[in-house]
Symmetry: C2
Subunit: 407 residues, 2 copies
Amino acid sequence: MIKNVIVGQSGGPTAVINSSLAGVYETARNLGAQHVYGMKYGIEGLLKGQVLDLDELLGSKMAIELLKRTPSSYLGSCRYKMPSPEADPAVYETLFGLFDRYGIDAVFYIGGNDSMDTIARLSAYGEAMGSPIRFIGVPKTIDNDLVLTDHTPGYGSAAKYIATVLKEVICDSSVYDLRSVTVAEIMGRHAGWLAGAACLAGGEDCAGPDLILLPEVPFDQQAFLARVDALQSEKSTVVIAASEGVKTADGTFLCDLVSAGGEVDAFGHKAALSGTGRYLADLIHAQLGCKSRAIELSTLQRCASHLASRTDVTEAYAVGGAAAMAAFSGQSGKMIAMERVSSVPYQCVTHAVDVRKVANFEKKVPAGWITPDGMNVTPDFERYARPLIQAELTPIYINGTPRHIHL
Amino acid sequence: MIKNVIVGQSGGPTAVINSSLAGVYETARNLGAQHVYGMKYGIEGLLKGQVLDLDELLGSKMAIELLKRTPSSYLGSCRYKMPSPEADPAVYETLFGLFDRYGIDAVFYIGGNDSMDTIARLSAYGEAMGSPIRFIGVPKTIDNDLVLTDHTPGYGSAAKYIATVLKEVICDSSVYDLRSVTVAEIMGRHAGWLAGAACLAGGEDCAGPDLILLPEVPFDQQAFLARVDALQSEKSTVVIAASEGVKTADGTFLCDLVSAGGEVDAFGHKAALSGTGRYLADLIHAQLGCKSRAIELSTLQRCASHLASRTDVTEAYAVGGAAAMAAFSGQSGKMIAMERVSSVPYQCVTHAVDVRKVANFEKKVPAGWITPDGMNVTPDFERYARPLIQAELTPIYINGTPRHIHL
């Protein structure tokens, strides 16, 4: 019998992480929870005793609607790596002491890989101590790199943003009658899911990017330049989508090559002067003598809730709700995963998987979804990703900008 | 009596320059034009004889709706500076020869300062030659720096984009419980209208940026750092909006200071390694020892039609239509300006002004709209800009992304 629950958010924000919070909150309330508490700034804040009463904050339906439209983590976040109980038993004693003080029967943690590790460690510790508390992980990451789930909430909205702004950038870049190359740098240090989403810019009204460079494929400078040169003989404007995580065959990130020359910033510090996009734009300019520019899509990829995918918002809510349901039905040490039960039409359902089989693994783009030349993704990639960006959740515009909700 | 007209687009694109094209096209047709032609790639393309038949391209209402939702210049653009007739008479002879060949009675040019100069030169030349052709300028620039008009179409949508994404960036930047400074670099090399629009992020749910740096105010490093330091004693997360055009008292752009150290890129070229935002972020990190990051809003500011202001779209269409009306009523050598006839409620009307009084002038943010410390804008600025970002034009989403129209 569950009376009180607590939920936290962790890791980098997404456009829909708050929809998962709404899903946990409303479902736990519907299932009879007496109190739903929130961790302020995740486990790190909880360790300092920062506990919020969500019934006070999220009690109205309007609050829930705004929460679904507010990017980033409503409760605040942290990047806290749980120590092992052997290394630091005090952390566990503090946390379980707090759970006891608030009469917590279930703990939900919304996050990526590290958060699943946190859930795995807490549930293992609890089990060993004979604690009845249930621990459930709720997946979230724009990187889409968690295993055992078809995709992660947060990815669809980031993909929709990338596809939409790339279409707009392609309009913008082809406006003059001259040769130019535009390189759009896209997030994803270790996996190419986000960069691959650039293919979704393609359609009846847009050719999409000409090349897509992923971290999964070692960068071959000579082949790349030859390809850009060949493209420029066919069309004057070339657009390239490049993951920030593109690296050479020896594993060096292109963005590290930039500052490897020992440049310092204007204040004498070693410079993180620019990134992968800048490197590639400079390379093209230097080697092909062509006008080039770099555009960094930056943070906006993960916080553009004004352009969220409705599919993503709905699924983010559903995994949150399924997490509450799993805890109430007695499960623990699980993460809620998405399972694609049908591709045409697209249908996904949730189910619970062993969180230990998720934490500390990383899902890459399959080799079969990358073109043989390593410079684009295949139609299979698009068939996988396209359903995830469907439909919109209209922002509530007030006085010209989307309305949010904050603590 | 006007039979045939031609319209061109010039300069940097905006989210609504195509709405002005729609306004010229539909109004000229409604007023009885037999043919509406388009210049491909502006005057530069026209000089090469690149003329389009817009009746074939824009004849359907669906095409017009898509045109209003397509960013960048549908007809293509150029950055062509008209020579004087004395310096290069052949240019004028070629253009007037083409006007003659197509039976052109009116020429419309949608653009910024340089485009108004083009209209001024063509109309003066035509007048001197006794030509009956009418020349009308249609204003467009996200920079909002044209004189004799309350504002320019294109500005409102850029301002709405800046306000919206800054709100999202502020959500994103305050997610961790640690001291950090985020610097958002905003376009506008010579005038602070776009950077000032950052104030529109403020409202009941958002404090807006803490500081706004404009090109109009010489950058005082000591005062700036003292202010950031003071802000950080009140709040952990500081967000600064900085124009790319911020410069020191001696007129040096901050972005030029970055590469003044003689850094070269990875290929041995003098580097345009980074910009104003990066400079300020590095400065804060070096002097205040605080985590800092720079976000460049980049090209997306001018091409984000998925977030266009409906007010801006409507006004852009209206100035295009008013340009057609002016030509049909016998005017020439004019630019259509916006006049704010009422602030509360906001009401703007169009009227025609002498294009020679617009070309080659530049409108800055008035000193009275900048706070005494030079690091923010006043409520008067917000009262001016807020009406321009009101309401939305919903994109036509197809398969997850906004649909556009292209030649």
